[in-house]
Each structure stands twice: as structure tokens, then as C-alpha cells.
């Protein structure tokens, strides 16, 4: 396709529209589509009417005002007062100017204030990481392969050393936290502000006990700071006050210690973080999903003795290995399953080279107690076909419904092609008055009283298939009763205390 052609096609519409005025429409260039699908006749419209905000009444002045009051209220005098405490007058001026510069009406219309369930909790707070939006900071450090130490004793020593260090650190932290809690309690209970630590400082310290040194113990003076408040001369503590404060702190501290010793968590455990840090991969493992290579792990070779599977001797061909895994039955159970080859067909595929013979076998398998399976196997070899079919039949074994473990529920009819099989339940002692193939099926399934009528074709394969279908799809009286909302009682199980033959 030449380059000129599409350009002409593109512009064709306009050329054509101009041409129609002067020339005949037959000379108009046909406008081609860029795709092969059939062109759409007219512009597709959404089948839903577009509801505008105006129609919904969202743009009315009173609605707007209500919304603004609700969502974008002005600062109350109390809030302003609080802000003034926090910010300098210049900052406050800037804040007020900014407030005036932005019209809340504009925010209401143009701003997208989210009120959905998944809206972020903050508008813009970059102090906290949110994994939904924020990129993970890159970690410094490289993955290293762990070197397994041959000397076990040395390893144990080192490990114990590390562990005791971690424990010691943990205990210290806990005690520090308890101290901080005690201080806070004294601070809140005391009317006068005698401890020179703000609430925020205390919070920080509780989060990270290592800050204690920075706050509490100055570098030059090794004295806790809480006793003095030296800014004002009249704020000096008297000796009596200082003693009292000491006592109170001591009491609170004792209380915290008691709490610690009584609580369940008194026993200190290192956190997973600390354990990981000393693990084979170090801290890096905490921040990556990727596991580092473990190096060469000494295997279990020679540690276990291979026990000779006693089944292996009996199943030297290994026919049953797969079946054992699939069914979970033992070899003796599998071998005790009753199976019977019901249909053998010699099939010929006629090609130009001649007939290719193969054999198809249909086998049933059952445990004689309510389970029945049907399998079909094909091969050029008779024994292979039969064996395959048997294995399939054992694999396909499913429970069938039996009334009193001897006959079926009701009369069932099943049809496969031209073969119709009518099975009928019969009283105890009736026996199996059925064709030979079905007799084998009944025997495998554990049915003892049954009558079968086959009014039409007696094709062996279809007979077996139809009977199998019929036995699998028996009606369930309980389900029928539930569907109709009736109570169901088996009279044979009620009269004479159920002692019926």
C-alpha cells in the first residue's frame, strides 16, 4: 500500500463533502476505516442518561453552603488560639492570608474530596511511610552468603554471648521504660510542674529508650534533671519539696517494678528483629523477601537406612505404585478388590497399509460392599488393555446408593443409545435375576436382590454403561422429602422395632 493512499483516504471525507457541492456524488472518494470491523452507523451513546450536578440540585447556593460548613469549616476562635500557641505571629499571619486566598467554594466544586472507604488517612504527611504510595528507601548493605562454622563449640559460645547481650539490652530498655512511666505518673499526679520533661519528650523516650541519656543525663552533669527547674529563681525547689518528689518517684518506680515482676511478660524475650540480626543473613533479611543462599548444607546422606518396602517384593512390575498413591490403599487392599472383564472388543483400523488391530477392554471393579468403578482400556496387547482398564476401574470406584445394603432405591431406567435397562428393587431373598454381565456388576457392588429388564438392544458395552449410569443416579428419598417439605419414615425400619428381614 502506498503512502499516498491512506492520506487520500483520510482526507477523502472532506474532499468528498466539498466535491458534492459542485460535482456528482459518484466521484467522491470512499472513506476507509483503519480497522477491519464493520463501521458503526452513528455515534454510540451511553444507554444511561447523563445526570448533571445541576439537575441533582448540588449547585444550589444553600446546598453548597451546607456542604462547605460541614466539610470545609472556618477556624473557630478556640482553634485559632491553639494555632497561635504553636506558631509565631508571622506564621499565623501567613496562615490567615492563605486561608483567605483560597475560596472554600472552589474547593467544594473543583477539589476532589474523597469520602470513600479507601481514602488515605492524611492529606499530605510525609513524616510517615505509607506502603501504598511511598517508595521503599534503598537499603545499604549487601546480601552475603553464610559461612557455616565447623567448630561447634566456638559457635555455641559466640551465640550465647550474643544472646546474653541482647537480653541485657532488653532488660535495660524495659527498666528504662518503667522509669519513664513512673516519671510520667508523678508528673500527671502532681499539681505543680516539677519535672522538667514535656509529655512529648517522655513519649519519645518510651519509644526509644536510648534517648534517655540525651534527655535525662547531660554530658557534663551526671545528675537527673527532674529535680530542678532552674529557669526562674522563685521556681527553685525547696529541700522539703525535693525530698517529697524523690519519695514520690521512688514509690512510683517501685510500683512499676512490681507490675513488671508480676506480669506475664516479666520474662524477657528477644524480639524477632534482634534474633534476625544475629541470624545467618543479618539485618538485610528483615527488609527483603528474597532469601540469601544458605550455602552448602550438609545433607542427610548416610543418616537414614533405606527400609525395604515389603510391598515392593509382591509388586515387582510396579503396576500398583501409582494406584497406591492415588487411592491411599495398601497393596493387599488393592489386590483384594474384585474385578471382572466384561467386554472385549477387537477393533481394526483400516488404513492403506492394511488393518491395524487393537483391543478395547471394559472392566468393572468393586469392593463387594457398595463401591463400584468402570474402566475402559485400549491397547494392541490384550493383557495391557485389560490391565489398564482394571487400574482405571479401581481408580474410578465410587460409592453407590443401596437400600438395606442389598438392593437399589425404587425402579430406575437408563438409556444409552438403543439400549434401555430397567432396574427394579426386589424384596429380600429374591436374588439376582439379571443378565450375566450385570450379575458381575451387582456382585462387585454388593447388590443381592435385583431384577433387570432389557426391552430393547442388548449391546454388551451399552448395557454395562447404562447400568453403571443407573446405579450412580439413584433417587434419594431423603432429598425428595426435603424438597416437598414432608417427613419421611421408612416403615420397614419402624414396625417390629426394625427387625424385618
Amino acid at each position: 500500500m502506498s503512502v499516498a493512499r491512506p492520506t487520500r483516504s483520510l482526507l477523502g471525507k472532506y474532499i468528498a463533502s466539498a466535491a458534492t457541492q459542485s460535482r456528482s456524488p459518484a466521484s467522491a472518494v470512499v472513506c476507509r476505516q483503519f480497522h477491519s470491523s464493520a463501521p458503526c452507523q452513528k455515534k454510540r451513546r451511553s444507554q444511561f442518561r447523563n445526570v448533571k450536578a445541576e439537575e441533582l440540585g448540588l449547585l444550589k447556593p444553600d446546598t453548597m453552603e451546607k456542604y462547605q460548613k460541614e466539610h470545609l469549616p472556618d477556624y473557630t476562635p478556640e482553634e485559632l488560639e491553639l494555632l497561635r500557641q504553636k506558631y509565631t505571629p508571622e506564621q499565623m499571619e501567613a496562615l490567615e492570608a492563605a486561608e483567605q486566598a483560597v475560596n472554600p467554594g472552589d474547593i467544594a466544586i473543583q477539589g476532589r474530596l474523597r469520602d470513600d472507604l479507601f481514602r488515605p488517612k492524611y492529606i499530605e504527611d510525609f513524616t510517615v511511610m505509607d506502603p501504598r504510595y511511598d517508595l521503599k528507601p534503598e537499603l545499604k548493605g549487601t546480601l552475603r552468603e553464610h559461612k557455616w562454622d565447623d567448630n561447634e563449640e566456638r559457635f555455641e559460645e559466640e551465640f550465647l554471648d550474643k544472646f546474653s547481650k541482647v537480653m541485657e539490652k532488653g532488660t535495660n530498655n524495659q527498666l528504662t521504660r518503667a522509669m519513664i512511666r513512673a516519671l510520667r505518673r508523678v508528673k500527671t499526679s502532681q499539681g505543680r510542674d516539677m519535672i522538667d520533661l514535656t509529655e512529648a519528650e517522655l513519649n519519645d523516650m518510651e519509644k526509644d529508650p536510648s534517648l534517655l541519656e540525651k534527655y535525662l543525663v547531660g554530658p557534663d552533669e551526671r545528675e537527673p534533671k527532674y529535680k530542678e527547674k532552674e529557669t526562674d529563681a522563685d521556681d527553685f525547689l525547696t529541700r522539703a519539696q525535693a525530698l517529697k518528689l524523690d519519695e514520690m518517684v521512688e514509690a512510683a518506680w517501685q510500683k512499676e517494678l512490681n507490675l513488671l515482676s508480676n506480669s506475664k511478660h516479666a520474662e524477657l524475650k528477644p524480639s524477632t528483629f534482634e534474633l534476625e540480626e544475629d541470624g545467618p543473613t543479618g539485618r538485610v533479611r528483615l527488609h527483603t523477601a528474597e532469601a540469601v543462599e544458605l550455602g552448602k548444607v550438609p545433607g542427610v546422606a548416610g543418616l537414614y537406612k533405606t527400609s525395604a518396602d515389603e510391598d515392593d517384593a509382591k509388586d515387582d512390575m510396579g503396576q500398583y505404585t501409582e494406584l497406591k498413591q492415588l487411592t491411599g490403599m495398601s497393596l493387599s487392599e488393592l489386590k483384594s478388590i474384585y474385578n471382572k472383564t466384561l467386554v472385549i472388543r477387537h477393533v481394526h483400523n483400516q488404513t492403506r497399509l492394511g488393518k491395524i488391530r487393537s483391543i478395547s477392554a471394559m472392566v468393572i471393579a468393586g469392593n463387594g460392599n457398595g463401591r463400584l468403578g468402570l474402566g475402559v482400556g485400549k491397547s494392541t496387547q490384550m493383557d495391557v488393555a485389560v490391565n489398564t482398564a482394571t487400574m482405571l476401574a479401581i481408580r474410578n470406584m465410587k460409592p453407590i446408593r443401596r437400600y438395606e445394603n442389598r438392593t437399589i432405591y425404587g425402579n430406575i431406567t437408563s438409556k444409552v443409545s438403543g439400549t434401555v435397562v430397567e432396574l427394579a428393587a426386589r424384596p429380600p431373598g429374591f436374588g439376582l435375576r439379571v443378565p450375566s454381565r450385570l450379575f458381575e456388576m451387582c456382585r462387585a457392588a454388593g447388590l443381592h436382590d435385583l431384577a433387570v429388564h432389557m426391552p430393547r438392544s442388548k449391546n454388551p458395552m451399552n448395557t454395562v454403561k447404562a447400568t453403571y449410569n443407573a446405579l450412580m443416579n439413584q433417587p434419594d428419598p431423603e432429598e425428595i422429602a426435603i424438597g416437598r417439605g414432608k417427613k419421611l419414615v421408612d416403615a420397614r425400619k419402624v414396625y417390629y422395632g426394625g427387625a424385618v428381614l
Binding site: 425404587g410 433417587p475 428419598p477 432429598e479 426435603i482 424438597g483 416437598r484 414432608k486
Partner: protein, 166 residues
């Protein structure tokens, strides 16, 4: 003796409806139809029977409100609305087959009815009728209304064998 034709139409309609998995359907409003529908309702095959106008009632209406009043103005428009039942993905009422036909009405006496309800086939005037199978119900039109075969036997009345349902 009312005609059995409307009942035959109802039977085949119900069979079609259960195949189409409809929740509610309507049949012609006749006395015979209504009695059969009530008998089916007693057996638990259908959930509701409601006589109403040409528009389908809601299930709540069918269950709670009294049937619409029939006057000589709306009598011709009345329908019998039946609620169908389904359980475990299968229809509760799947087969409704007529036994009697308009051309060949089959009546049954008490002794033959007893055989039928026990599951044995019975030889009647019109031909042989198969006995009841598991989960099957047979409906008999008697002078005490349309009854299930077991009900009729309990009351010792025979009558016209209408249909069998399962």
C-alpha cells in the same frame, strides 16, 4: 363429569415450566385445575396457589393475601397462579403425566387403587396402569374432590385416575 382437557393442558404446562426453571406460572382458572393444584400443594409439589388477575402477584401476596374477589366483570380474566419449587438445583415437580385422556377416561376402584399405591401394576378397563414408583404421586378425581391416591385409599373412594407426578 367435567372435561379432563384443561387438566391435561395444565399437566403439560407444568412439565414445560419446571424444565424452564420458572419461579411462578399461571394456568387457566377452572374448578378442576384448582382442585388438582391444591392437591399438588398438599403433597408439597408447589409452594403457592393463588387466584388472581392477569398480572402476576408477588410471592408475598400469594402467601399472605386472600385471593382476589371474582365478580362477573373479571371472571373471564382470572388465572391460577402457581409457585414452583426447586431444591438442590433440581425441580421438585419435574414430571406430570396424564393417565386418563379425554378420549379414554380410566376409573379405578378401591381394590385396584390399593394395588397401585403398593407399587404393583393394575389392570383397569382402559388398560394396564403401572404402580407407584419411589417418590411418585398419583391423583384421583373423586366425588370428594381431587385426592392423592393414598388419601383416596384412606377415605375408601375410587374415581378417575388423572395424572401421576414426581
Amino acid at each position: 363429569m367435567p372435561s379432563i382437557l384443561n387438566v391435561a393442558n395444565m399437566a403439560s404446562h407444568l412439565r414445560n415450566v419446571s424444565k424452564a426453571r420458572l419461579g411462578i406460572t399461571s394456568v387457566k382458572n377452572t374448578k378442576y385445575n384448582m382442585r388438582l393444584a391444591l392437591a399438588l400443594h398438599r403433597s408439597g409439589f408447589i409452594s403457592n396457589v393463588y387466584r388472581g388477575g392477569p398480572t402476576p402477584p408477588t410471592l408475598e401476596e400469594m402467601a399472605s393475601s386472600p385471593p382476589e374477589v371474582v365478580t362477573n366483570l373479571n371472571a373471564a380474566q382470572m388465572r391460577l397462579w402457581l409457585g414452583m419449587k426447586y431444591w438442590d438445583g433440581k425441580p421438585v415437580l419435574s414430571e406430570v403425566t396424564m393417565i386418563s385422556k379425554p378420549k379414554r377416561i380410566m376409573t379405578v376402584g378401591i381394590d385396584q387403587l390399593a394395588k397401585l399405591t403398593r407399587g404393583f401394576s393394575a389392570k383397569l378397563d382402559g388398560g394396564v396402569v403401572q404402580g407407584l414408583n419411589l417418590g411418585e404421586c398419583m391423583y384421583v378425581g373423586t366425588d370428594k374432590g381431587v385426592l392423592e391416591a393414598r388419601e383416596a385409599l384412606a377415605r375408601k373412594v375410587g374415581g378417575v385416575l388423572i395424572c401421576r407426578a414426581s
